[in-house]
């Protein structure tokens, strides 16, 4: 069954390279995305109902609550962006931005990208995890540069170079971790996450500490932690919007998943969280600070959303750094909420971009009127991502701050609260002018006004679905989700 999870994206990627008819390609895309979602649901059921909360297969695949949470996010956002892509591509083709023949290239790379992420999250071996994470960069490089103009090319080049070098640094960390465990582990279990975790106490401490530094820098680059974040705003703003949603909602999590696993191993080896805590809290706070500065002066709405991703990854890193049961739960919850909210925003931003043909905030007026569904959802989504109740991001941000105070990090909690308030002000001041105005009679007479109405029906439905989830997530969580998050928390704490 788990093989099916890898076969579906692999096979569909192959089909796209063979099939030239765009209509058939759309159908393959929608059915593959839905099938993946079903497989994911089945696998989640397996993990929840097994007594040890884990799933092994073929001696190569391994799933536990932590992995399954991140995997489910991948499959769900993959489904949403897959559906959204259909009309998005059709619109691009109609406007002549995209040649008809490139549609299948888009889908092929899209499914390769999903394939590499699914592989990263289902394997047991840390070396293969690394290979898959590096492969995500390679699969998405051409997607980032898909528009093929000077800007997109620059973003793609920076993305490939910075992420490849960053990931190479993580490989050095993994080599050192391997070196530290070479006496403790037998031949067959080298570099396996669960084996490393079980034997963490007998690993060589100084080497483990050194390796954590490299792994944090390496995967931190991919997760968009400051000061290694420089590729992120460029790549997120230049990529086609569904890809931005995937990069932000899914790819950053996959890298963060690597950091979380390593933190659990290192903390168990050290017998405390002080060492990893200091580094992660420092990196997290710096990310939030960097994001706050750039959000306050941003002119481009997609870049603003990208900086907001850096902020939220910083918050997750902070929560993991504190490493108490409450903070880990809050961190995981925040990761889920950020993914859903941010992909919804990027998808809405895609519709806005196709409607108004500009990324500049000043040139957009009357969003509520022009896009009767996407406009209000985008507007409320901005409130949500800025951390306003009753949305789910508020709930998890509040829990992170509470966890900080609970663990006696008083100053850090205070600074975080102030920075979040600053970011809220930045988002409000920059983006809210987009909402009102526009559509005056003069403009309509001159024929300059943009026609009212939605342009991406399937996409709008997906956006609305995501919106409903983040609304409900603010005050209600299904039992199975809580069970999984508690499982992941206990797993990292070694309970």
């Amino acid at each position: 069954m788990i093989l099916l999870l890898l076969l579906i994206p692999g096979l569909s990627a192959a089909l796209f390279f063979l099939c030239r008819n765009n209509k058939i390609n759309h159908i393959i895309n929608v059915s593959a995305a839905s099938l993946l979602l079903l497989c994911g649901a089945w696998l989640t059921g397996q993990v929840i109902h097994s007594p040890e909360m884990e799933y092994r297969s073929l001696g190569f695949f391994y799933m536990d609550p932590l992995g399954i949470i991140v995997l489910d996010i991948v499959l769900f956002i993959g489904f949403a962006t897959g559906i959204y892509s259909v009309s998005y591509l059709e619109n691009e083709i109609q406007e002549g931005v995209l040649p008809k023949t490139r549609c299948r290239l888009y889908y092929g790379l899209f499914y390769l990208f999903l394939f590499t992420m699914i592989l990263a999250l289902t394997v047991e071996n840390m070396g293969i995890f690394w290979i898959a994470i590096e492969a995500t960069t390679l699969a998405s490089a051409f997607l980032v540069g898909f528009h093929n103009d000077k800007h997109a090319l620059e973003a793609a080049w920076k993305y490939v170079i910075i992420c490849s070098v960053g990931i190479a640094i993580a490989l050095l960390g993994i080599i050192l971790l391997h070196l530290s465990s070479i006496d403790a582990l037998s031949e067959g279990q080298q570099l396996d996450f669960p084996a490393l975790f079980a034997k963490a106490a007998v690993l060589k401490k100084p080497i483990v500490r050194l390796s954590f530094l490299f792994i944090l820098i390496g995967f931190g680059t991919k997760a968009g932690l400051a000061p290694m974040h420089t590729w992120l705003p460029d790549a997120h703003s230049q990529a086609p919007s569904p890809i931005s949603a995937l990069l932000s909602g899914v790819l950053l999590n996959s890298a963060m998943y690597g950091i979380m696993r390593t933190v659990a191993i290192v903390n168990r080896c050290e017998g405390g969280s002080q060492y990893t805590g200091r580094l992660l809290i420092g990196a997290g706070l710096l990310s939030v600070l960097t994001a706050a500065v750039f959000i306050l002066t941003q002119k481009d709405y997609k870049r603003l959303l990208a900086y907001s991703s850096i902020e939220h990854m910083g918050i997750v890193a902070l929560a993991v750094g504190v490493f108490t049961p409450l903070s880990l739960f809050a961190g995981l919850f925040h990761m889920i909420n950020h993914s859903l909210t941010k992909s919804m925003l990027f998808l809405s931003a895609g519709t806005i971009l196709q409607k108004f043909h500009t990324k500049k905030v000043q040139k957009i007026k009357g969003l509520l009127r022009t896009l009767p569904v996407t406009g209000p959802v985008f507007f409320l989504g901005l409130f949500a991502i800025a951390g306003v109740p009753p949305f789910s991001v508020f709930a998890s941000e509040l829990s992170v701050i509470l966890a900080l105070f609970d663990a006696k990090y008083l100053y850090i909690g205070g600074v975080l609260a102030v920075l979040l308030a600053g970011i809220f002000a930045g988002i409000a001041a920059t983006l809210f002018p987009m909402i009102a105005g526009g559509g005056t009679e003069e403009e309509e007479e001159e024929g300059e006004a943009i026609p009212v109405g939605e342009i991406n029906k399937g996409g709008t439905a997906v956006i609305l679905m995501l919106f409903c989830i983040i609304c409900i997530g603010g005050f209600f969580l299904p039992d199975s989700v809580i069970l999984l998050m508690e499982g992941a928390r206990d797993l990292m704490l070694g309970l």
Binding site: A135, A168, P206, Q298
Partner: protein, 218 residues
């Protein structure tokens, strides 16, 4: 046997210095080929030893792949990319060469002091060489920031990967074979993608100088 490996590890470090002193893109590619050849030779020696002692062929397989990929295929690919470019300038360096060499020496000394303070790092199989390998890794990083042509950056990235590879090989006798193979596949794809992008950058910007990639800010 271990003396032979010592010699190879020093030769690899030396080739990293030579690479740092090169001025022309053609000579980068040549030096990279020589460096990879030394790595393949070291892997061959190590593989032969493990084959005789334990009957493992893992490292010999890896050695063959290094010869095919890093000594033959990738350098050829890069020279092909370079000869097909429309707009090219031969020389490529920012600072003067003696300064670059001095900084590289500094990097080696820095690695020596920092690596020898970490307890337990000198107990593996052959760990005097770990200093040389980490130095090659850092020099690869430094090479990337000291050149401004896109191909120079690719070579820097490959040198960095070489440093990593010998670090893994000397300290732990290589990673598990599946991991090694996966790393090679990734590296090959990375180089191909970067090569393609060099073409596109050259088309759009009429140069491969990455200083011109400065439009996205803020």
């Amino acid at each position: 046997m271990s003396e032979l490996l010592d010699i190879f590890s020093v030769l690899i470090l030396l080739s990293a210095f030579v690479l740092m002193a090169n001025k022309r893109i053609r000579s980068y590619i040549k030096t990279f080929r020589i460096q990879s050849f030394f790595i393949a030779a070291a892997a061959g020696v190590m593989g032969w030893e493990s084959f005789i002692e334990k009957g493992h062929v893992d490292i010999l397989v890896v050695c063959a792949i290094i010869v095919i990929l890093k000594v033959i295929y990738i350098p050829n690919l890069l020279s092909k990319v370079y000869s097909n470019l429309e707009y090219r300038v031969e020389k490529d360096f920012i600072f003067n060469i003696p300064l670059l060499i001095l900084i590289s020496c500094g990097l080696v000394v820095f690695t020596y002091f920092s690596v020898s303070t970490v307890e337990g790092l000198n107990e593996g199989f052959l760990n005097k060489q770990i200093i040389n390998s980490v130095s090659v890794f850092l020099m690869g990083l430094f090479f990337m920031i000291s050149r401004k042509k896109a191909i120079g950056q690719i070579i820097g990235f490959l040198e960095l990967e070489n440093g990593l590879y010998i670090c893994a090989m000397f300290s732990t006798h290589g990673m598990p074979l599946v991991v090694d193979l996966g790393i090679f596949v990734d590296m090959l794809t990375a180089v191909m993608i970067m090569g393609l992008m060099v073409f596109r950058i050259n088309e759009k910007y009429e140069s491969i100088n990455i200083k011109k990639l400065n439009r996205l800010k803020g």
